[in-house]
Amino acid sequence: MFKLAAVGDKDSVYGYASLGVSIFPVDTPAEAIPLLRHLAENGYGVIYITEQLAEEMQEELERYASLPLPAIVPVPGVRGNTGLGLANVSRFVEKAVGSDILS
């Protein structure tokens, strides 16, 4: 059985608590990186992370990219949408096809 987690600034992740997602309010990549490692090793299957935070720690997220679990999904936080999520989708297409044919 795997659990779900939401990582990001407090305002962005608070709402998820009521749905039964474990929330971990952190503000900086320095806090988030060890936290992610901890979560990945302790049975969290899906980790939602705010785009603001994800943007600052792309390299760390790359570590989990080729593993089947956990799935780390950047979602927009309260401070608005940075477009990172959609940019990621375009990156997949570019990687697989050679150019972004969907945009």
């Binding site: 059985m1 659990k3 709402g15 009521s18 799935a71 949408n81 990687k95 697989a96």
Partner: protein, 216 residues
């Protein structure tokens, strides 16, 4: 294209011919794999994109309501309201094999079956905007889980497609031409040897005849 560094012998020739057949078969199989992966990937990535747009929109709506709730409620009362969630979500994860790429399949289990268990607080002391925020999030949650699944699959498949494409190209543009050229080289060399043996034999025969019968 460079010829492989091998001895031009019949044994090498047979070996090379066998290798060429294997390389051609491998090339065909890998090409089929790449095409099928690509087809699935494109379906998946389109779904990914659509889901992303929907989820981001849903989260934006939830965040709007949440911001209002934060403004009208004190930090403390919000903390208290969301401190002890009654609902708990757990994931059953299984794996699906698509063209030898293992992709995760998520199946959500809720601790309690009642859909209203997402409201873990009394309605008396909280703002209605908090209810809206929580409801908006819970509405988008199934899509968010599907998004996690699809996005992970896309990522894994993109990696695999890239790898397969490299292999296909290496076989098509390097290995197979190399084998073909080497086979051609050995065949020519062997033919040449045969011709030179024939001429030598004819020459020897001439010399022997000359000696035996004093032919001119």
């Amino acid at each position: 294209m460079a010829v492989l560094n091998v001895n031009p012998t019949r044994m090498e020739l047979t070996n090379l011919k066998r290798k060429l057949v294997t390389a051609r078969r491998g090339h065909k199989l890998l090409k089929d794999k790449r095409d099928e992966l690509m087809r699935r990937f494109l379906d998946l990535v389109r779904e990914n994109k659509a889901l992303r747009v929907e989820v981001e929109d849903g989260i934006r709506r939830a965040n709007e309501a949440m911001s209002v709730a934060r403004c009208v409620m004190s930090d403390k009362s919000l903390d208290v309201a969301l401190m002890l969630p009654t609902q708990e979500m757990q994931l059953e994860v299984s794996e699906q094999n698509i063209m030898s790429v293992m992709i995760p399949v998520f199946d959500v289990r809720f601790k309690t079956a009642d859909a209203n268990d997402i409201y873990s607080y009394g309605f008396g002391e909280t703002s209605g905007d908090l209810d809206l925020a929580v409801r908006a999030l819970s509405e988008i949650m199934p899509k968010m889980i599907r998004l996690a699944e699809v996005e992970k699959s896309c990522r894994l498949m993109a990696d695999e497609i890239e790898k397969t494409r490299r292999r296909v190209n290496a076989l098509e543009h390097v290995m197979i031409p190399q084998y073909e050229e080497t086979i051609k080289f050995i065949t020519m060399k062997l033919d040449e040897n045969e011709r030179s043996t024939t001429t030598r034999l004819m020459k020897v025969k001439d010399m022997m005849l000359k000696e035996a019968h004093h032919y001119q």
